[in-house]
Symmetry: C2
Subunit: 278 residues, 2 copies
Protein backbone atom coordinates (compact mmCIF):
# COMPACT_ATOMS: atom_id res chain seq x y z
CA UNK A 1 0.00 0.00 0.00
CA UNK A 2 1.62 3.28 -1.07
CA UNK A 3 1.43 6.33 1.13
CA UNK A 4 -0.97 7.89 -1.40
CA UNK A 5 -3.51 5.13 -0.99
CA UNK A 6 -3.31 5.35 2.81
CA UNK A 7 -3.30 9.09 3.24
CA UNK A 8 -5.99 10.75 5.29
CA UNK A 9 -6.44 14.51 5.38
CA UNK A 10 -9.18 16.81 6.65
CA UNK A 11 -8.60 20.21 5.05
CA UNK A 12 -10.96 22.86 6.43
CA UNK A 13 -11.74 26.25 4.89
CA UNK A 14 -11.79 28.01 8.27
CA UNK A 15 -14.56 28.94 10.73
CA UNK A 16 -15.67 25.34 11.28
CA UNK A 17 -18.53 24.73 13.71
CA UNK A 18 -17.23 24.17 17.25
CA UNK A 19 -20.51 24.50 19.17
CA UNK A 20 -23.21 22.55 17.34
CA UNK A 21 -23.07 19.16 15.60
CA UNK A 22 -19.42 19.77 14.69
CA UNK A 23 -19.67 17.42 11.70
CA UNK A 24 -16.21 18.37 10.48
CA UNK A 25 -14.33 18.12 13.79
CA UNK A 26 -16.33 14.94 14.51
CA UNK A 27 -14.86 13.49 11.29
CA UNK A 28 -11.36 14.41 12.51
CA UNK A 29 -11.95 12.56 15.81
CA UNK A 30 -13.51 9.56 14.07
CA UNK A 31 -10.55 9.22 11.70
CA UNK A 32 -8.14 9.64 14.60
CA UNK A 33 -9.65 6.59 16.29
CA UNK A 34 -12.85 7.86 17.92
CA UNK A 35 -12.84 7.34 21.68
CA UNK A 36 -9.28 6.03 21.38
CA UNK A 37 -8.09 9.15 19.53
CA UNK A 38 -4.85 10.80 20.67
CA UNK A 39 -4.87 14.21 18.98
CA UNK A 40 -2.05 16.73 18.87
CA UNK A 41 -3.02 20.38 18.28
CA UNK A 42 -0.30 22.30 16.41
CA UNK A 43 -0.64 25.99 17.32
CA UNK A 44 2.38 27.28 15.39
CA UNK A 45 0.19 29.48 13.15
CA UNK A 46 -1.38 31.51 15.91
CA UNK A 47 -0.05 34.16 18.26
CA UNK A 48 -2.67 33.07 20.79
CA UNK A 49 -1.63 29.42 21.17
CA UNK A 50 -3.15 28.87 24.59
CA UNK A 51 -6.53 30.39 23.80
CA UNK A 52 -6.86 28.74 20.40
CA UNK A 53 -5.39 25.42 21.53
CA UNK A 54 -7.57 25.10 24.62
CA UNK A 55 -10.66 25.77 22.58
CA UNK A 56 -9.82 22.75 20.41
CA UNK A 57 -8.95 20.63 23.46
CA UNK A 58 -12.43 21.36 24.81
CA UNK A 59 -14.19 20.47 21.52
CA UNK A 60 -12.21 17.31 20.79
CA UNK A 61 -12.66 16.14 24.40
CA UNK A 62 -16.40 16.81 24.19
CA UNK A 63 -16.53 14.77 20.98
CA UNK A 64 -14.93 11.87 22.83
CA UNK A 65 -11.22 11.92 22.00
CA UNK A 66 -9.18 10.06 24.62
CA UNK A 67 -6.19 12.40 24.75
CA UNK A 68 -5.74 15.89 23.32
CA UNK A 69 -2.59 17.94 23.79
CA UNK A 70 -1.10 21.13 22.43
CA UNK A 71 2.30 21.36 20.79
CA UNK A 72 3.14 25.02 20.82
CA UNK A 73 6.22 25.82 18.78
CA UNK A 74 7.39 29.41 18.93
CA UNK A 75 10.72 28.64 17.29
CA UNK A 76 12.58 25.97 15.33
CA UNK A 77 14.26 24.93 18.62
CA UNK A 78 10.82 24.17 20.06
CA UNK A 79 10.24 22.00 17.00
CA UNK A 80 13.11 19.74 18.06
CA UNK A 81 11.91 19.19 21.66
CA UNK A 82 11.72 15.58 22.69
CA UNK A 83 8.33 16.14 24.32
CA UNK A 84 6.91 17.36 21.01
CA UNK A 85 8.48 14.50 19.07
CA UNK A 86 7.18 11.93 21.53
CA UNK A 87 3.66 13.41 21.35
CA UNK A 88 3.68 13.13 17.57
CA UNK A 89 5.04 9.58 17.63
CA UNK A 90 2.12 8.56 19.84
CA UNK A 91 -0.53 10.64 18.09
CA UNK A 92 -3.36 9.17 16.02
CA UNK A 93 -4.30 12.60 14.65
CA UNK A 94 -2.57 15.94 14.05
CA UNK A 95 -4.51 19.21 13.83
CA UNK A 96 -3.05 22.51 12.55
CA UNK A 97 -4.95 25.58 13.79
CA UNK A 98 -5.55 28.82 11.93
CA UNK A 99 -3.40 31.95 12.12
CA UNK A 100 -0.63 32.84 9.71
CA UNK A 101 0.46 30.02 7.41
CA UNK A 102 3.99 31.44 7.06
CA UNK A 103 4.52 30.82 10.80
CA UNK A 104 3.80 27.11 10.34
CA UNK A 105 6.33 26.63 7.55
CA UNK A 106 9.00 28.94 8.95
CA UNK A 107 8.92 27.24 12.37
CA UNK A 108 8.22 23.59 11.47
CA UNK A 109 9.22 22.88 7.87
CA UNK A 110 12.34 20.68 7.55
CA UNK A 111 12.69 20.18 11.31
CA UNK A 112 12.69 16.85 13.14
CA UNK A 113 9.08 17.54 14.07
CA UNK A 114 8.18 17.88 10.37
CA UNK A 115 9.86 14.53 9.66
CA UNK A 116 8.02 12.92 12.58
CA UNK A 117 4.65 14.25 11.43
CA UNK A 118 5.24 13.07 7.86
CA UNK A 119 6.29 9.66 9.14
CA UNK A 120 3.04 9.28 11.12
CA UNK A 121 1.09 10.63 8.12
CA UNK A 122 2.63 8.04 5.81
CA UNK A 123 1.70 5.39 8.38
CA UNK A 124 -1.92 6.42 7.90
CA UNK A 125 -2.86 8.78 10.75
CA UNK A 126 -5.12 11.67 9.88
CA UNK A 127 -3.61 15.13 9.42
CA UNK A 128 -6.09 17.99 9.62
CA UNK A 129 -5.87 21.76 9.38
CA UNK A 130 -8.14 24.77 9.26
CA UNK A 131 -7.62 28.15 7.53
CA UNK A 132 -3.81 28.72 7.73
CA UNK A 133 -3.62 25.03 8.67
CA UNK A 134 -5.38 24.24 5.37
CA UNK A 135 -3.22 26.61 3.33
CA UNK A 136 -0.02 24.69 4.25
CA UNK A 137 -1.27 21.32 2.94
CA UNK A 138 0.13 21.50 -0.64
CA UNK A 139 3.81 21.65 -1.62
CA UNK A 140 3.32 25.19 -2.93
CA UNK A 141 1.07 27.34 -0.77
CA UNK A 142 -0.59 30.71 -0.94
CA UNK A 143 1.31 32.73 1.68
CA UNK A 144 -0.91 35.76 1.31
CA UNK A 145 -2.85 37.64 -1.33
CA UNK A 146 -5.68 39.98 -2.20
CA UNK A 147 -9.34 39.00 -2.12
CA UNK A 148 -12.27 40.31 -4.21
CA UNK A 149 -10.20 41.34 -7.19
CA UNK A 150 -9.35 39.95 -10.61
CA UNK A 151 -6.30 37.69 -11.10
CA UNK A 152 -2.94 39.42 -11.56
CA UNK A 153 0.53 38.07 -10.92
CA UNK A 154 1.33 40.48 -8.08
CA UNK A 155 -1.85 39.78 -6.12
CA UNK A 156 -0.56 36.62 -4.49
CA UNK A 157 2.65 35.47 -2.75
CA UNK A 158 3.52 31.79 -3.07
CA UNK A 159 5.92 29.79 -0.92
CA UNK A 160 6.74 26.21 0.04
CA UNK A 161 3.97 24.38 1.90
CA UNK A 162 4.12 21.32 4.17
CA UNK A 163 3.51 18.95 1.25
CA UNK A 164 0.81 16.66 2.62
CA UNK A 165 -1.21 17.06 -0.61
CA UNK A 166 1.32 17.93 -3.32
CA UNK A 167 0.45 19.06 -6.82
CA UNK A 168 -2.57 21.19 -5.99
CA UNK A 169 -3.35 24.73 -4.91
CA UNK A 170 -5.60 25.30 -1.91
CA UNK A 171 -7.35 28.49 -0.87
CA UNK A 172 -9.68 28.87 2.11
CA UNK A 173 -12.55 31.15 3.27
CA UNK A 174 -13.19 30.90 -0.45
CA UNK A 175 -16.74 32.01 -1.33
CA UNK A 176 -16.92 34.14 1.83
CA UNK A 177 -13.95 36.27 0.79
CA UNK A 178 -14.37 36.22 -3.01
CA UNK A 179 -11.07 34.50 -3.79
CA UNK A 180 -11.52 33.15 -7.32
CA UNK A 181 -9.02 35.72 -8.58
CA UNK A 182 -6.23 34.72 -6.22
CA UNK A 183 -6.82 30.98 -6.71
CA UNK A 184 -6.47 31.42 -10.48
CA UNK A 185 -3.44 33.67 -10.08
CA UNK A 186 -1.75 31.05 -7.86
CA UNK A 187 -2.70 28.24 -10.23
CA UNK A 188 -1.40 30.02 -13.32
CA UNK A 189 1.96 30.73 -11.66
CA UNK A 190 3.03 27.24 -10.62
CA UNK A 191 3.04 23.71 -12.04
CA UNK A 192 -0.06 22.28 -10.30
CA UNK A 193 -3.15 22.09 -12.48
CA UNK A 194 -5.80 21.58 -9.78
CA UNK A 195 -7.00 24.48 -7.64
CA UNK A 196 -9.41 24.01 -4.74
CA UNK A 197 -11.27 26.84 -3.04
CA UNK A 198 -12.66 25.60 0.28
CA UNK A 199 -15.50 27.50 1.95
CA UNK A 200 -15.81 28.29 5.63
CA UNK A 201 -17.27 25.48 7.77
CA UNK A 202 -16.51 23.10 4.89
CA UNK A 203 -13.85 20.42 4.58
CA UNK A 204 -12.10 18.40 1.93
CA UNK A 205 -11.84 14.95 3.48
CA UNK A 206 -9.11 13.10 1.59
CA UNK A 207 -8.83 9.32 1.61
CA UNK A 208 -6.09 8.11 -0.71
CA UNK A 209 -6.77 9.57 -4.14
CA UNK A 210 -10.33 10.72 -3.48
CA UNK A 211 -11.89 13.43 -1.44
CA UNK A 212 -15.39 13.97 -0.13
CA UNK A 213 -16.89 17.35 0.70
CA UNK A 214 -18.20 17.69 4.28
CA UNK A 215 -19.93 20.76 5.70
CA UNK A 216 -22.04 23.78 5.02
CA UNK A 217 -20.51 25.36 1.92
CA UNK A 218 -18.84 24.13 -1.23
CA UNK A 219 -15.48 23.30 -2.70
CA UNK A 220 -14.83 25.17 -5.95
CA UNK A 221 -12.59 23.14 -8.26
CA UNK A 222 -10.64 24.90 -11.03
CA UNK A 223 -8.90 22.35 -13.27
CA UNK A 224 -6.45 23.80 -15.76
CA UNK A 225 -5.49 20.42 -17.35
CA UNK A 226 -7.17 21.50 -20.56
CA UNK A 227 -6.37 25.21 -20.46
CA UNK A 228 -5.77 26.24 -24.08
CA UNK A 229 -4.18 29.61 -23.38
CA UNK A 230 -2.84 31.81 -20.66
CA UNK A 231 -0.82 35.01 -20.86
CA UNK A 232 1.45 34.51 -17.82
CA UNK A 233 4.59 34.70 -19.92
CA UNK A 234 3.49 37.88 -21.68
CA UNK A 235 2.22 40.23 -18.98
CA UNK A 236 3.76 42.50 -16.42
CA UNK A 237 3.13 41.89 -12.74
CA UNK A 238 0.20 44.25 -12.31
CA UNK A 239 -1.59 43.44 -15.56
CA UNK A 240 -4.67 41.21 -15.59
CA UNK A 241 -4.29 37.51 -16.31
CA UNK A 242 -5.98 35.69 -19.17
CA UNK A 243 -6.86 32.06 -18.65
CA UNK A 244 -8.92 30.17 -21.24
CA UNK A 245 -10.43 26.70 -21.16
CA UNK A 246 -10.37 25.69 -17.49
CA UNK A 247 -12.94 23.28 -16.05
CA UNK A 248 -15.06 24.46 -13.15
CA UNK A 249 -16.87 22.25 -10.64
CA UNK A 250 -18.93 23.35 -7.65
CA UNK A 251 -19.13 20.53 -5.09
CA UNK A 252 -21.31 20.67 -1.95
CA UNK A 253 -21.60 18.26 1.00
CA UNK A 254 -21.50 14.59 0.04
CA UNK A 255 -19.91 15.10 -3.38
CA UNK A 256 -16.72 13.22 -4.17
CA UNK A 257 -13.80 13.97 -6.46
CA UNK A 258 -11.16 11.71 -8.01
CA UNK A 259 -7.80 13.45 -7.52
CA UNK A 260 -5.91 11.07 -9.83
CA UNK A 261 -8.26 11.42 -12.80
CA UNK A 262 -9.38 15.02 -12.19
CA UNK A 263 -13.08 14.21 -12.20
CA UNK A 264 -16.06 14.59 -9.87
CA UNK A 265 -17.36 11.11 -8.96
CA UNK A 266 -20.99 11.22 -9.99
CA UNK A 267 -22.01 7.56 -9.57
CA UNK A 268 -25.69 7.36 -8.76
CA UNK A 269 -26.28 11.03 -9.54
CA UNK A 270 -28.20 12.39 -12.52
CA UNK A 271 -25.81 12.96 -15.39
CA UNK A 272 -26.07 14.83 -18.69
CA UNK A 273 -29.90 14.94 -18.99
CA UNK A 274 -29.97 17.82 -16.54
CA UNK A 275 -27.04 19.50 -18.24
CA UNK A 276 -27.68 23.09 -19.14
CA UNK A 277 -31.32 22.82 -18.11
CA UNK A 278 -32.98 24.18 -15.02
Amino acid sequence: MSSETKRQLVIIGGAEDKEGDCIILREVVRRAGGTKARIVIMTAATELPREVGENYIRVFKRLGADEVRIIDTESREDAASSTALKAVEEATGIFFTGGDQARITSIIKDTELDTAIHKRFSEGIVVAGTSAGAAVMPDVMIVEGDSVTNPRINMVDLGPGMGFLPGVVIDQHFSQRGRLGRLISALAQQPAVLGFGIDENTAMVVTGDEFEVVGEGIITVVDESEVVHNNVDEILRDEPLAFCGAKLHILPHGYKYDLANHKPILEGRSVAETAGVS
Copy 2:
Protein backbone atom coordinates in the same frame (compact mmCIF):
# COMPACT_ATOMS: atom_id res chain seq x y z
CA MET B 1 -28.20 41.75 -42.48
CA SER B 2 -29.99 40.37 -39.40
CA SER B 3 -30.30 42.44 -36.27
CA GLU B 4 -27.81 40.08 -34.58
CA THR B 5 -25.10 40.86 -37.08
CA LYS B 6 -25.68 44.60 -36.70
CA ARG B 7 -26.06 44.84 -32.96
CA GLN B 8 -23.74 47.06 -30.96
CA LEU B 9 -23.65 47.00 -27.18
CA VAL B 10 -21.28 48.40 -24.58
CA ILE B 11 -22.02 46.58 -21.31
CA ILE B 12 -20.05 48.02 -18.40
CA GLY B 13 -19.44 46.37 -15.00
CA GLY B 14 -19.89 49.66 -13.11
CA ALA B 15 -17.47 52.31 -11.81
CA GLU B 16 -16.08 53.14 -15.26
CA ASP B 17 -13.44 55.85 -15.47
CA LYS B 18 -15.00 59.29 -16.01
CA GLU B 19 -11.96 61.47 -15.28
CA GLY B 20 -8.92 59.98 -17.03
CA ASP B 21 -8.59 58.44 -20.49
CA CYS B 22 -12.18 57.17 -20.28
CA ILE B 23 -11.42 54.35 -22.70
CA ILE B 24 -14.82 52.76 -22.16
CA LEU B 25 -16.98 55.89 -22.46
CA ARG B 26 -14.78 56.97 -25.38
CA GLU B 27 -15.79 53.70 -27.10
CA VAL B 28 -19.45 54.56 -26.49
CA VAL B 29 -19.02 57.97 -28.12
CA ARG B 30 -17.01 56.54 -31.02
CA ARG B 31 -19.69 53.93 -31.75
CA ALA B 32 -22.41 56.57 -31.45
CA GLY B 33 -20.79 58.55 -34.27
CA GLY B 34 -17.90 60.41 -32.61
CA THR B 35 -18.21 64.15 -32.97
CA LYS B 36 -21.59 63.59 -34.64
CA ALA B 37 -22.89 61.50 -31.74
CA ARG B 38 -26.34 62.24 -30.34
CA ILE B 39 -26.50 60.39 -27.03
CA VAL B 40 -29.49 59.89 -24.79
CA ILE B 41 -28.83 59.19 -21.10
CA MET B 42 -31.52 57.01 -19.54
CA THR B 43 -31.60 57.74 -15.80
CA ALA B 44 -34.54 55.47 -14.89
CA ALA B 45 -32.37 53.33 -12.59
CA THR B 46 -31.27 56.12 -10.30
CA GLU B 47 -33.06 58.19 -7.69
CA LEU B 48 -30.58 61.00 -8.40
CA PRO B 49 -31.33 61.46 -12.12
CA ARG B 50 -30.12 65.04 -12.37
CA GLU B 51 -26.83 64.48 -10.55
CA VAL B 52 -26.01 61.21 -12.31
CA GLY B 53 -27.26 62.38 -15.72
CA GLU B 54 -25.38 65.66 -15.68
CA ASN B 55 -22.18 63.87 -14.80
CA TYR B 56 -22.52 61.81 -17.99
CA ILE B 57 -23.47 64.87 -20.06
CA ARG B 58 -20.23 66.48 -18.92
CA VAL B 59 -18.09 63.44 -19.80
CA PHE B 60 -19.70 62.71 -23.16
CA LYS B 61 -19.47 66.39 -24.13
CA ARG B 62 -15.84 66.48 -23.10
CA LEU B 63 -15.20 63.42 -25.26
CA GLY B 64 -16.68 65.27 -28.22
CA ALA B 65 -20.28 64.09 -28.57
CA ASP B 66 -22.39 66.58 -30.49
CA GLU B 67 -25.57 66.34 -28.45
CA VAL B 68 -26.20 64.70 -25.08
CA ARG B 69 -29.55 64.75 -23.32
CA ILE B 70 -31.20 63.10 -20.35
CA ILE B 71 -34.42 61.15 -20.53
CA ASP B 72 -35.61 60.90 -16.97
CA THR B 73 -38.54 58.54 -16.56
CA GLU B 74 -40.02 58.40 -13.09
CA SER B 75 -43.11 56.50 -14.25
CA ARG B 76 -44.51 54.54 -17.17
CA GLU B 77 -46.39 57.70 -18.22
CA ASP B 78 -43.06 59.49 -18.59
CA ALA B 79 -42.00 56.60 -20.83
CA ALA B 80 -44.74 57.53 -23.31
CA SER B 81 -43.83 61.22 -23.58
CA SER B 82 -43.41 62.47 -27.12
CA THR B 83 -40.25 64.37 -26.15
CA ALA B 84 -38.65 61.15 -24.96
CA LEU B 85 -39.76 59.24 -28.04
CA LYS B 86 -38.45 61.92 -30.36
CA ALA B 87 -35.09 61.99 -28.56
CA VAL B 88 -34.72 58.23 -28.99
CA GLU B 89 -35.74 58.38 -32.68
CA GLU B 90 -32.97 60.91 -33.30
CA ALA B 91 -30.37 59.30 -31.03
CA THR B 92 -27.24 57.58 -32.32
CA GLY B 93 -26.49 56.12 -28.89
CA ILE B 94 -28.46 55.20 -25.76
CA PHE B 95 -26.82 54.98 -22.32
CA PHE B 96 -28.45 53.40 -19.24
CA THR B 97 -26.97 54.64 -15.94
CA GLY B 98 -26.50 52.66 -12.75
CA GLY B 99 -28.94 52.53 -9.84
CA ASP B 100 -31.54 49.81 -9.32
CA GLN B 101 -32.12 47.57 -12.33
CA ALA B 102 -35.71 46.82 -11.27
CA ARG B 103 -36.55 50.52 -11.78
CA ILE B 104 -35.44 50.32 -15.41
CA THR B 105 -37.64 47.35 -16.27
CA SER B 106 -40.65 48.38 -14.17
CA ILE B 107 -40.73 51.87 -15.70
CA ILE B 108 -39.61 51.23 -19.29
CA LYS B 109 -40.17 47.59 -20.26
CA ASP B 110 -43.04 47.10 -22.77
CA THR B 111 -43.71 50.83 -23.14
CA GLU B 112 -43.56 52.83 -26.38
CA LEU B 113 -40.15 54.04 -25.28
CA ASP B 114 -38.93 50.43 -25.03
CA THR B 115 -40.21 49.75 -28.54
CA ALA B 116 -38.52 52.89 -29.85
CA ILE B 117 -35.19 51.99 -28.25
CA HIS B 118 -35.33 48.45 -29.63
CA LYS B 119 -36.17 49.81 -33.08
CA ARG B 120 -33.12 52.09 -33.07
CA PHE B 121 -31.01 49.23 -31.64
CA SER B 122 -32.08 46.92 -34.50
CA GLU B 123 -31.15 49.71 -36.91
CA GLY B 124 -27.62 49.52 -35.55
CA ILE B 125 -27.19 52.29 -33.00
CA VAL B 126 -25.13 51.49 -29.93
CA VAL B 127 -26.91 50.71 -26.66
CA ALA B 128 -24.74 50.99 -23.56
CA GLY B 129 -25.28 50.55 -19.84
CA THR B 130 -23.30 50.47 -16.64
CA SER B 131 -23.95 48.53 -13.42
CA ALA B 132 -27.79 48.35 -13.20
CA GLY B 133 -27.74 49.45 -16.84
CA ALA B 134 -25.61 46.37 -17.60
CA ALA B 135 -27.77 44.02 -15.55
CA VAL B 136 -30.85 44.76 -17.73
CA MET B 137 -29.19 43.74 -21.01
CA PRO B 138 -30.25 40.04 -21.14
CA ASP B 139 -33.81 38.71 -21.39
CA VAL B 140 -33.52 37.27 -17.87
CA MET B 141 -31.71 39.52 -15.42
CA ILE B 142 -30.35 39.31 -11.89
CA VAL B 143 -32.66 41.64 -9.96
CA GLU B 144 -30.71 41.33 -6.74
CA GLY B 145 -28.72 38.78 -4.81
CA ASP B 146 -26.04 38.05 -2.25
CA SER B 147 -22.33 38.53 -2.87
CA VAL B 148 -19.33 36.65 -1.38
CA THR B 149 -21.20 33.43 -0.67
CA ASN B 150 -21.58 30.02 -2.28
CA PRO B 151 -24.35 29.39 -4.84
CA ARG B 152 -27.79 28.52 -3.48
CA ILE B 153 -31.18 28.90 -5.14
CA ASN B 154 -32.47 31.52 -2.69
CA MET B 155 -29.45 33.81 -2.98
CA VAL B 156 -30.59 35.49 -6.19
CA ASP B 157 -33.82 36.97 -7.57
CA LEU B 158 -34.31 36.78 -11.32
CA GLY B 159 -36.72 38.80 -13.46
CA PRO B 160 -37.30 39.85 -17.06
CA GLY B 161 -34.57 42.06 -18.52
CA MET B 162 -34.63 44.46 -21.48
CA GLY B 163 -33.55 41.73 -23.91
CA PHE B 164 -30.77 43.46 -25.86
CA LEU B 165 -28.50 40.43 -25.41
CA PRO B 166 -30.82 37.45 -24.91
CA GLY B 167 -29.74 33.98 -23.85
CA VAL B 168 -27.01 34.99 -21.41
CA VAL B 169 -26.67 35.94 -17.77
CA ILE B 170 -24.78 39.10 -16.85
CA ASP B 171 -23.44 40.13 -13.46
CA GLN B 172 -21.46 43.29 -12.73
CA HIS B 173 -18.95 44.60 -10.13
CA PHE B 174 -17.92 40.95 -10.48
CA SER B 175 -14.43 40.36 -9.06
CA GLN B 176 -14.74 43.41 -6.80
CA ARG B 177 -17.80 41.99 -5.02
CA GLY B 178 -17.02 38.27 -5.19
CA ARG B 179 -20.05 37.26 -7.24
CA LEU B 180 -19.13 33.86 -8.70
CA GLY B 181 -21.73 32.24 -6.44
CA ARG B 182 -24.61 34.39 -7.61
CA LEU B 183 -23.65 34.14 -11.29
CA ILE B 184 -23.66 30.34 -11.04
CA SER B 185 -26.91 30.35 -9.09
CA ALA B 186 -28.57 32.53 -11.76
CA LEU B 187 -27.13 30.41 -14.56
CA ALA B 188 -28.29 27.13 -13.05
CA GLN B 189 -31.85 28.41 -12.61
CA GLN B 190 -32.68 29.53 -16.13
CA PRO B 191 -32.23 28.30 -19.70
CA ALA B 192 -29.19 30.41 -20.73
CA VAL B 193 -25.90 28.53 -20.73
CA LEU B 194 -23.50 31.49 -20.86
CA GLY B 195 -22.77 33.57 -17.77
CA PHE B 196 -20.62 36.71 -17.88
CA GLY B 197 -19.20 38.42 -14.82
CA ILE B 198 -18.03 41.91 -15.77
CA ASP B 199 -15.55 43.73 -13.52
CA GLU B 200 -15.66 47.38 -12.55
CA ASN B 201 -14.17 49.79 -15.10
CA THR B 202 -14.42 46.99 -17.67
CA ALA B 203 -16.78 46.57 -20.61
CA MET B 204 -18.07 43.88 -22.91
CA VAL B 205 -18.17 45.59 -26.31
CA VAL B 206 -20.51 43.54 -28.49
CA THR B 207 -20.44 43.75 -32.28
CA GLY B 208 -22.80 41.24 -33.84
CA ASP B 209 -21.96 37.82 -32.46
CA GLU B 210 -18.61 38.74 -30.96
CA PHE B 211 -17.50 40.78 -28.03
CA GLU B 212 -14.20 42.36 -27.08
CA VAL B 213 -13.11 43.16 -23.53
CA VAL B 214 -12.20 46.80 -22.92
CA GLY B 215 -10.91 48.21 -19.64
CA GLU B 216 -9.02 47.59 -16.45
CA GLY B 217 -10.39 44.29 -15.16
CA ILE B 218 -11.63 41.06 -16.69
CA ILE B 219 -14.73 39.33 -17.92
CA THR B 220 -15.24 35.95 -16.25
CA VAL B 221 -17.06 33.55 -18.59
CA VAL B 222 -18.88 30.52 -17.15
CA ASP B 223 -20.16 28.26 -19.95
CA GLU B 224 -22.48 25.49 -18.86
CA SER B 225 -22.98 24.00 -22.36
CA GLU B 226 -21.11 20.89 -21.29
CA VAL B 227 -22.22 20.72 -17.67
CA VAL B 228 -22.56 17.02 -16.85
CA HIS B 229 -24.52 17.40 -13.62
CA ASN B 230 -26.31 19.87 -11.45
CA ASN B 231 -28.60 19.31 -8.48
CA VAL B 232 -31.08 22.15 -9.07
CA ASP B 233 -34.02 19.73 -9.25
CA GLU B 234 -33.06 17.94 -6.05
CA ILE B 235 -32.27 20.62 -3.49
CA LEU B 236 -34.27 22.90 -1.26
CA ARG B 237 -33.93 26.65 -1.65
CA ASP B 238 -31.29 27.23 1.00
CA GLU B 239 -29.12 24.20 0.21
CA PRO B 240 -25.87 24.57 -1.71
CA LEU B 241 -25.83 24.02 -5.45
CA ALA B 242 -23.71 21.43 -7.21
CA PHE B 243 -22.55 22.22 -10.73
CA CYS B 244 -20.07 19.93 -12.51
CA GLY B 245 -18.28 20.33 -15.83
CA ALA B 246 -18.60 24.03 -16.66
CA LYS B 247 -15.98 25.82 -18.75
CA LEU B 248 -14.26 28.85 -17.24
CA HIS B 249 -12.50 31.62 -19.16
CA ILE B 250 -10.83 34.74 -17.73
CA LEU B 251 -10.63 37.44 -20.41
CA PRO B 252 -8.78 40.74 -19.93
CA HIS B 253 -8.56 43.83 -22.15
CA GLY B 254 -8.24 43.07 -25.85
CA TYR B 255 -9.52 39.49 -25.66
CA LYS B 256 -12.43 38.52 -27.88
CA TYR B 257 -15.20 35.94 -27.51
CA ASP B 258 -17.44 34.27 -30.08
CA LEU B 259 -20.98 34.35 -28.65
CA ALA B 260 -22.40 32.02 -31.31
CA ASN B 261 -19.82 29.25 -30.87
CA HIS B 262 -19.09 29.79 -27.16
CA LYS B 263 -15.36 30.15 -27.58
CA PRO B 264 -12.67 32.70 -26.83
CA ILE B 265 -11.16 33.93 -30.11
CA LEU B 266 -7.43 33.23 -29.71
CA GLU B 267 -6.14 33.92 -33.22
CA GLY B 268 -2.56 35.06 -33.03
CA ARG B 269 -2.22 34.15 -29.36
CA SER B 270 -0.16 31.30 -27.93
CA VAL B 271 -2.31 28.18 -27.72
CA ALA B 272 -1.90 24.85 -25.94
CA GLU B 273 1.91 24.89 -25.51
CA THR B 274 1.52 27.22 -22.55
CA ALA B 275 -1.36 25.18 -21.19
CA GLY B 276 -0.94 24.20 -17.58
CA VAL B 277 2.56 25.62 -17.51
CA SER B 278 3.80 28.76 -15.84
